[in-house]
């Protein structure tokens, strides 16, 4: 008999969730006896809430969401980490400014989404750079990119594998050249999309979690290593009709690099030091008022 499960994503269903899509549409979950319903997310709906309310069995949340929830007593556990690299980076015009080191941020206008994790990441970068907050101008980001296009802001946060590709494509087409500021290359590790579930499910049905993760990792492995990219892109297009195929191929390449940055890294691996650094950063920024020992909520046994 098939079991029905609901899987709440963090954000829209697009190339960032390619592995999830492949797992659903190429039968990886079915093999495990699971029928999985994908649900897209958004700022008003987060997966951890859905887990508690029983609206979902599994979900995707970023590291900071998980840590925040733990600090408020949510019984959430992490069973896999999808992105080994945080996709959040800052785009800038190469012909306008030059960023070699963090000190080059001085006197720049930097877009940040106040309250979101890009704010914390940028603040951490600034601390590392030794610049005080008065030496840069933080610019409040909203939905569209016009301030960046018009040059009001010098750097603008994007998800490198989706928005980054689209914008890069557009700007390239009009002759501009762009580059990205990658926090990780400056030593800031901040965990992004990870798979979470509730303690209860884990305790009561560990084998179900096992099968889910097995199916999911197979999906992501197919997405990252599979050669039938046409089929993968077609699967994504079921959800993201508005992005052209060309762009989707480019996005797929970028996403692959985030999920499996090196040969030795296994897909879905939980990067414990990165989690610890994420907690440390949040503590330093007073996002949480005391340590939560996130390590105790990381279940490494599901991904070898």
């Amino acid at each position: 008999a098939q079991e029905n499960l609901t899987y709440r994503l963090k954000w829209l269903i697009n190339m960032s969730t390619v592995g999830d899509i492949v797992a659903v549409h190429q039968g990886c979950f079915l093999e495990q006896g699971l029928t999985v319903t994908l649900k897209s997310g958004g700022p008003e709906r987060d997966a951890i809430r859905d887990l508690e309310l029983g609206h979902a069995d599994f979900g995707v949340a970023s590291g900071d969401q998980v840590i925040q929830a733990i600090s408020k007593g949510s019984p959430v556990v992490v069973v896999a980490q999808l992105f080994q690299k945080n996709p959040l980076q800052w785009v800038y015009f190469k012909n306008k400014i030059r960023i070699d080191g963090l000190t080059d941020l001085k006197n720049k206008t930097i877009g940040v989404t106040f309250g979101k994790n890009d704010e914390i990441i940028m603040r951490t970068l600034l601390v590392k750079s030794g610049l005080s907050e008065r030496q840069v101008r933080l610019y409040s980001v909203r939905l569209d990119y016009t301030p960046f296009y018009k040059g009001v802001a010098d750097l603008w946060p994007v998800y490198i594998n989706t928005q980054g590709v689209e914008i890069g494509h557009k700007l390239m087409a009009s002759g501009a050249s762009i580059a990205f500021l990658d926090p990780e290359s400056h030593g800031v590790l901040f965990v992004a999309n990870s798979v979470v579930t509730s303690k209860r499910l884990l305790e009561e049905h560990p084998e179900r979690v096992h099968r889910f993760i097995k199916g999911l990792i197979k999906g992501w492995t197919t997405a990252v290593e599979g050669t039938d990219t046409d089929r993968i892109v077609d699967d994504v297009r079921r959800y993201d009709r508005d992005t052209s195929r060309d762009l989707l191929f480019a996005q797929l390449d970028q996403t692959r690099a985030l999920v499996k940055p090196g040969k030795t890294v296994s897909i879905g691996r939980i990067n414990v030091p990165a989690w610890e650094q994420t907690e440390a950063i949040m503590l330093a920024n007073q996002q949480i008022d005391r340590p939560v020992n996130v390590g105790t909520r990381l279940r490494l046994e599901f991904v070898e």
């Binding site: 829209l12 649900k39 008003e44 939905l143 296009y149 018009k150 557009k170 700007l171 508005d242």
Partner: protein, 248 residues
């Protein structure tokens, strides 16, 4: 009538577009700030059929939401029409909820109702119902003494009759507001889709925004406008039929 609505809409849309393009060329903005006409037509060709389908699905939700909120407005209007303590409490509640922008209420709605069709409908209805409520309360709270006197005198006044008398005497105002609220129902549904759904034109707009693609947004606006012109025209015709049926 209907035709006039459509070509008036086209006129307005074209004027708006012309202004945008003028700004583009005067200030010399690149295609990614404001797309050129060529890009726009291209986009239109590419996505118009998908968007038409989206808009239609949105319209269906909007219509249900509008019916729902008309009923809600009448219920609250009827309960809140008296100047009793309860009446005014209901009015305060109905007003206050509206003051909360939907973006702040949405998380609570999702906690309480999940994110299915019901939440979408609720959000759409909330945005559309308040203007209706205002008019309905205004209309239902005001006595028409010349007509009501007889029923009061003979002890025949029931709340249904009171509502009927006051609605009838204010029929033109009510139909104006109901036809007008169609646009709000549409806007409400789009916002709900923007926040929550994974279908409909609101969802498409969110993706277009996410991709920073203004040309798609302009196509979406076009589709929404034209659909709405037709819907409103139909409502107006229906309103006229109701009126003549009731009055003749």
């Amino acid at each position: 009538m209907l035709l006039r609505r459509i070509y008036q809409f086209l006129m307005i849309y074209l004027i708006g577009l012309a202004i945008l393009l003028m700004i583009k060329y005067v200030v010399n903005l690149s295609d990614y700030v404001i797309p050129s006409l060529g890009i726009l037509l291209n986009t239109f060709g590419g996505i118009s059929s998908t968007y038409a389908h989206d808009v239609f699905s949105t319209l269906c939700v909007a219509i249900i939401g509008q019916i729902f909120s008309i009923m809600l407005a009448f219920v609250v209007g009827i309960l809140g029409r008296k100047t009793t303590w309860l009446g005014s409490l209901i009015k305060v509640a109905a007003y206050n909820i509206q003051a909360y922008p939907i973006v702040a209420l949405a998380p609570i709605i999702f906690i309480l109702l999940g994110d299915g069709f019901v939440s979408r409908l609720l959000i759409a209805a909330m945005i559309c119902y308040f203007p209706l409520l205002l008019s309905v309360v205004g209309i239902l709270a005001e006595p028409i003494t010349e007509v009501e006197h007889f029923y009061q005198q003979t002890g025949r006044m029931r709340w249904q009759l009171e509502v009927k008398i006051r609605s009838f005497e204010n029929l033109p105002k009510l139909t104006t507001v109901i036809a007008g609220s169609a646009t709000l129902a549409m806007a409400g549904t789009i916002v709900a889709e923007f926040i929550a759904a994974n279908a409909g034109i609101g969802y498409s707009i969110r993706i277009a925004l996410y991709q920073s693609d203004l040309s798609k947004i302009l196509v979406a606006l076009f589709m929404i406008g034209i659909t709405l012109s037709i819907y409103q025209g139909a409502l107006e015709i229906a309103g006229r039929l109701v009126k003549s049926a009731w009055e003749q």
